[in-house]
Each structure stands twice: as structure tokens, then as C-alpha cells.
């Protein structure tokens, strides 16, 4: 069950929201979708769901176009959370679950399980407007997964949650993935994508600027991070050949260097100058890559 986007373009009048986007999202994988505000993530999701028609290009799932006959196989957590404020959680989920083709009894059983899991069984007969924003989001998440979809689209699933709830939701997402569901999710928080996704795509003004497997992306980025904690002044490293960027921190500095080899020169240059607590060569974070790629496109 592979989700395939081929040369998908979406124009709103003169504005091009998504430009020639091609993606392949394999079965039971987690695919991260990154991009600044207005990069075209939500528009892409809406096209995958059939809420918007693409101007050109094809979107297929398992070789077939996605339409309302398949809506029972698809789960969606919209970026703008929305539930009926006046309805009780039970009525709410029953209605949404039935629209996804489930039977009432199955919905209640599943719902009980989920509320138990999220440690909020007492919310069953509460109105949504009485719940806190974070708890509403749990209900929203349940509405997206209650029918055990094969394709799950999560638009900013972790925004607005406290760290404990983020962990709870992450674990749930991982479990759903383990059951064979393909998951596409977007986020502004790079660490979530880094932690959960095998493949990712960074979107900039509707175009993919980075696309591929996480490890591969990091390797091909080339640049490395070097963290040095020392008791001596490190300012002079700013002009050292191969150092691209120096950021001072309390205990020392963090450098971005052109490649691994530069670190060895720096190591030698620091020898005998004083006490060095930490000398750590690290992979670039997704954050670095994002800032560099998206930032470059801004310039």
C-alpha cells in the first residue's frame, strides 16, 4: 500500500502552493513532512485526502486514486483541531466513526480502550468544550485512528501538548505504525521528525528542497557539528580554515565545520593550550539542515 505523488502541482489563481511535488511513501512507514509556514504542507494533505483537486499530477495509493470509497481506510488529524463543542465525547466519536464505516458497538469498545490508554476514561460522557485543549487533542487523535486506518495523516499532531502527553501520543503513533499503517505527519519540531521518521521531505514554497531517508540526508549534508567545552578562549577558531560558523555557549562553543577532517586540525591546534573538557564530533541535526536549506531559499 504505497502512497505515490507524481508531479503534483496546485495553483490558487496565480499563486502556486505546491509545485511539481513527487513523493513515495512506503507501507507501514512513518514519513515526515517539514516546511515553514505556508510551505504547502496542509494543501498537500488536502489533495491527498481529495478535499482539493490537484491542478496537475497524480496521487495514487496502491495504484488507485483516493476517493470517498476508501475513506474508511484513511485517518486524518487536521491542523486546525475541530470537534463539536456541545457534543459528548461518546456521541462525537460515534458519529465520526460511523462516517468512517464503523459499527456503533465497535466504536464504543475501541473508544474505551483509547481513553483507558490516555488515562482519561472519565471523559467518555463529558462535553468537548469542558475539556482542556490538550485533552481535546487526545480526543481529536482518537477520532483520527478509531477505525484503524491503513493510511494516517497527522498535521502537527504534537503541537500544544505537554511533554508527558507528547510521549504518550508518540508511543501511540509508533504502535499504530507497528500494526502496518503508513503514517504521514508534519511538524515544526525537528526532534520529533528525527526521532520517528525513516523518510522525510522538507518543503519550501511548494517545492521539496530535501527529500530522502533520514540517515542518507544527514550523511550527504557533509557538514558536521563540533562541540568544544574548554577553559581557554576559543574565539580564534572563528577564523580557522574550514569553520563555517561559531556559536558561543556558556561552557565553550559549538562549531559547524565543512567536513570531518577539519575537526582533526582543530584538535591538533588545541593541544597544549589548556584544559579541554569536551571535544565531540556530531552529526548535523535536522534543525541545522532545515535552517540551512530553508534559510538559503529565503535569501
Amino acid at each position: 500500500m504505497t502512497l505515490l505523488l507524481k508531479d503534483v502541482t496546485k495553483r490558487f489563481g496565480k499563486h502556486t502552493a505546491v509545485d511539481q511535488l513527487s513523493l513515495e511513501i512506503p507501507e507501514s512507514e512513518m514519513f515526515g513532512f517539514l516546511g515553514g509556514n505556508g510551505a504547502g504542507k496542509t494543501t498537500t494533505f488536502r489533495m491527498i485526502l481529495g478535499l482539493l483537486d490537484s491542478t496537475s499530477g497524480d496521487i495514487t495509493w496502491n495504484g488507485e486514486p483516493i476517493n470517498y470509497d476508501k475513506s474508511h481506510l484513511i485517518g486524518y488529524l487536521p491542523e486546525e483541531r475541530g470537534l463539536y463543542p456541545k457534543l459528548k465525547v461518546r456521541e462525537q466519536i460515534i458519529y465520526l466513526g460511523r462516517l468512517r464505516g464503523m459499527k456503533k458497538n465497535d466504536i464504543v469498545t475501541e473508544l474505551e480502550g483509547w481513553l483507558e490508554r490516555f488515562k482519561v476514561p472519565e471523559y467518555m460522557d463529558k462535553k468537548v468544550e469542558e475539556l482542556s485543549k490538550g485533552n481535546q487533542q487526545k480526543i481529536q487523535f482518537i477520532s483520527a485512528v478509531i477505525h484503524r486506518p491503513k493510511l494516517l495523516i497527522l498535521d502537527e499532531p504534537f503541537s500544544g501538548l505537554d511533554p508527558i502527553n507528547v510521549e504518550m501520543l508518540k508511543q501511540a503513533v509508533l504502535d499504530i505504525k507497528a500494526q502496518g499503517t503508513s503514517i504521514v505527519f508534519s511538524s515544526h519540531q525537528m526532534e520529533h521528525v528525527e526521532e520517528l521518521c525513516e523518510h522525510l521531505c522538507i518543503l519550501q514554497k511548494g517545492k521539496p528542497v530535501v527529500y530522502g531517508a533520514l540517515g542518507e540526508i544527514k550523511r550527504s549534508f557533509g557538514k558536521k557539528n563540533l562541540i568544544i567545552h574548554a577553559d581557554i578562549p576559543l574565539e580564534f577558531l572563528r577564523d580557522y580554515p574550514g569553520v563555517l560558523h561559531l556559536k558561543k555557549v556558556t561552557a565553550g562553543c559549538e562549531l559547524q565545520i565543512e567536513n570531518e577532517a577539519v575537526s582533526q586540525g582543530i584538535f591538533a591546534a588545541l593541544q597544549g593550550k589548556g584544559f579541554i573538557r569536551k571535544f565531540d564530533l556530531a552529526e548535523p541535526s535536522l534543525n541545522d539542515i532545515f535552517i540551512e536549506k530553508v534559510g538559503a531559499a529565503y535569501e
Binding site: 489563481g13 483537486d53 491542478t55 470517498y68 475513506s71 486546525e80 465520526l96 462516517l99
Partner: protein, 416 residues
């Protein structure tokens, strides 16, 4: 179960259980109950005492016939002859012992005249009754003085014989016209009320789903068109339930009091003897009219982002139905006017006006067919357009709610 039915039943059941629905239904039932029992209610609240009018008759001949005539006309009136002095009686009036004082006398020509004293003369009812009766007595006495024969007088006052006969064999008789007027009047008012109440309900229902942002979730599970029509028919079913309850309750209450009400409201409106064909046309036009207005309402509702803004968008809908309503009221008196004829083909007005023409005139079936045809075509076009606007509109959030948004929503649902 089909998604259409899931949305429809959800729309129906969440509303039928809502406090607002139960309360409005109960209040309307109370109003019906009050209307049916209005006589008893008035009787309960009125004191039952008669208005006593003191009369000083200086002529000694007018009091007796005046008392008889005035009390015949108004049951609540009691005329009492008093012999006390004028000032004493005036005091008695001020002490509320009497409602008023009437002094009767004869003028120079021997004709009766009167003066009416009361604490205030705002309550003109009693005053008018007495004045009219005195006038009649005066006419009688004047005629007597003139020496005209009673038979001559009677023939003068006899109403003229005047019959209206329609030469066209198929034209409606007067009786038929009255019946038709009754049901048309009821249908026009019903249409007006239903469009305003349930049109507003649809706009609000869609706007609420949009403003709570649940809409995106809904239309990712069910097609917008299905969703829109399920809403329209769900609300229609709700309306039928409400109207059904009211009609049943109203019927039950009327049946209980049939004897008192016979010849009253029901016969005036001629509902009991209405021809079946007119009832069928009424239902057809009513349903088509509802669907037309409901489709527009759903489309408009999909354009607002906040439910507060929905109020503004209801206005064009209300204007349309009001124009139709006023043309219909005008048309009841002049069904053959060009305005009514033309309007009976305009889809927004035809549910009211073609029905009016069918009831009041004898029009060929093909004209009815054309009118219904135009109406159905309009509904289909609006439904297709509405579904497009709905699809784009529900994804559209922003401040403005003008008709420009229709275009914007339309574009959003297109490929580019």
C-alpha cells in the same frame, strides 16, 4: 448504513433532543392552546360585572327603547334610569358607582339629543354604542314626524339585490375562491415562517460546523454534496416533526372544542372543503420551495467562518421570501395582475405565486408544468453550484462574508 443517512440522522437527532427545539415546540403548543381557548381565558379574566350607565331622561320616552336596543347590542351594558340630581350622579360616576352618565333631552325640533359624562372618554366603545342607538332612535322619530309610511322606509333601507356570476364556465365560484384564499393564505404564511426558521437553522448548522472546524474532518469522510443534502433533509425532517406535533395537537384541541369552533376559523379559511388537487399542489410547491431556499441557505452557511457572521448572510434569504410574501398578499386581491403572472415563473416566488394562481384562477396545466420545471431546474443548478461553493467554502476561513466569497469558494473547488 449509507453516509447520507448517518449525517441526516445525526443532524436530526442531535437537534430533536436539543433544549431549544423542545422549548420552542412547547411554547408554540401553549400559543395554540391559548388561541383555541381564547374565549374562556377572556371570560376568566373579565370581572363579569356589567358596565352600569346612569341615565337621566328629561323626555320620559327615550329611555326605555334606548335601554332595550343598547343592551341588545352589548351584553355587558346595563342602563339604569336615575332620578337624583345631575351633580349627585356625576359624583357617583367619579366614585365609580357608575361607568358614565347620559342625559337625554329633546331639542328645538323635538328630536332627541344626549350628553355623555364619564371620568374619561378614552373608552369609546360604550360611548359609541349609546350614540349609535340614539341616532337610530332619532331617525325613527324624525321619520315619524315627517309622516312617511313605514313600508316606504323599509323599501328604502332594503339592501340592493346584487349577484356576481362568472360567465366563463371554468371560472371559480365565489365559494371556491374563498376556500382557495384560505389555504393559499395558510400556505404562504407557512412558507414564509418555514424559510425563515429552518433556513436560519441550516445556515447556523453549517456555520457552527465550520467555525468549530469539525467540517474538514466531516468532508474528509463524506463527500460535501452528500453532507450538504443530508443536512438539508435532516433539518426538513426536524421541521416536519415540529409541524406534525403542532398540527396533531392543534387538531386534537380543535376536535375537543368542535362545537364551539364550528363555523369559526376553520370555515373562514375553507380548509375543510379544499379540493384535493389544490392540497397536492400545495405540498409539491411547498417541498420544492423549501429545497430551493434550503440549498441557498446551506451554500451561504458554508461561506461564513464564525457563527456570528451567519446573521448577516440570512438577510438576502429573508428579503427574497419577503418579496414573495408581499406579492402573494397583493395577489390574493388581484390574481390576474401581470406582476403575479410574471412572478409565478420566477423560481424564488413561484412556490407561493403559482399556487396562488392555481387556486384563484383557472390556468392551463402547461403553465403549472413550466413553473414547476423552472423551479426544479433552478434547484438542480443551485444544488450543483451550491455543492461546489460548499466544497470550497468549508475550507475557506477569513473575515469577509461578501458575495465575492462565492466566487472565491468556487475557484477553490476548481482544479486551479
Amino acid at each position: 448504513m449509507n453516509k447520507f443517512w448517518i449525517v441526516l440522522s445525526h443532524t436530526y437527532f442531535t437537534r430533536v433532543k436539543s433544549k431549544a427545539f423542545i422549548i420552542t415546540t412547547l411554547i408554540t403548543l401553549l400559543v395554540i392552546f391559548a388561541a383555541v381557548n381564547i374565549q374562556q381565558i377572556i371570560d376568566t379574566f373579565s370581572s363579569g360585572e356589567k358596565d352600569k350607565i346612569a341615565v337621566i331622561d328629561t323626555t320620559d320616552q327615550i329611555f326605555a327603547p334606548l335601554k332595550e336596543n343598547a343592551e341588545n347590542i352589548d351584553d355587558d351594558l346595563e342602563l339604569v334610569a336615575v332620578s337624583s340630581s345631575e351633580s349627585e350622579v356625576k359624583e357617583a360616576v367619579q366614585d365609580k358607582e357608575y361607568e358614565a352618565l347620559v342625559i337625554l333631552s329633546l331639542n328645538d325640533e323635538d328630536l332627541p339629543e344626549g350628553t355623555y359624562y364619564a371620568n374619561n372618554i378614552t373608552n369609546s366603545g360604550v360611548q359609541q354604542v349609546i350614540e349609535e342607538q340614539l341616532q337610530q332612535l332619532k331617525v325613527g322619530i324624525a321619520i315619524e314626524h315627517a309622516g312617511i309610511d313605514q313600508e316606504v322606509i323599509e323599501s328604502i333601507y332594503d339592501p340592493v339585490a346584487f349577484h356576481a356570476v362568472a360567465l366563463d364556465k371554468t371560472a371559480k365560484t365565489n365559494e371556491e375562491l374563498n376556500q382557495a384564499r384560505g389555504i393559499i393564505y395558510v400556505m404562504v404564511i407557512l412558507m414564509y415562517i418555514v424559510v425563515i426558521i429552518y433556513g436560519t437553522m441550516i445556515i447556523n448548522a453549517v456555520a457552527t460546523e465550520k467555525s468549530s472546524r469539525v467540517m474538514e474532518l466531516l468532508i474528509s469522510s463524506a463527500p460535501p454534496v452528500t453532507h450538504m443534502f443530508a443536512k438539508i433533509f435532516g433539518v426538513a425532517l426536524l421541521g416536519l416533526t415540529q409541524i406534525g406535533i403542532l398540527i396533531l395537537a392543534g387538531y386534537a384541541m380543535i376536535a375537543l372544542k368542535k362545537d364551539e369552533l364550528a363555523g369559526g376559523m376553520l370555515e373562514t379559511f375553507g380548509i375543510l372543503n379544499t379540493p384535493v388537487s389544490l392540497i397536492i399542489y400545495s405540498i409539491v410547491f411547498f417541498l420544492l420551495g423549501y429545497i430551493l431556499y434550503a440549498t441557498i441557505a446551506a451554500m451561504l452557511g458554508s461561506l461564513v467562518s464564525r457563527s456570528e457572521d451567519a446573521q448577516q448572510l440570512i438577510m438576502p434569504l429573508i428579503f427574497l421570501i419577503m418579496i414573495g410574501y408581499f406579492i402573494a398578499i397583493f395577489g390574493l386581491a388581484a390574481p390576474e395582475s401581470t406582476l403575479v403572472t410574471v412572478s409565478s415563473y420566477i423560481p424564488f416566488f413561484s412556490p407561493m405565486l403559482m399556487l396562488l394562481r392555481i387556486g384563484m384562477l383557472d390556468i392551463p396545466i402547461w403553465q403549472v408544468a413550466i413553473s414547476i420545471g423552472i423551479l426544479i431546474v433552478t434547484i438542480v443548478i443551485l444544488a450543483l453550484l451550491g455543492a461546489r461553493v460548499y466544497r470550497g467554502g468549508v475550507l475557506m476561513y477569513g473575515k469577509s462574508n461578501s458575495l465575492k466569497d462565492v466566487k472565491k469558494a468556487f475557484q477553490l473547488s476548481k482544479k486551479e
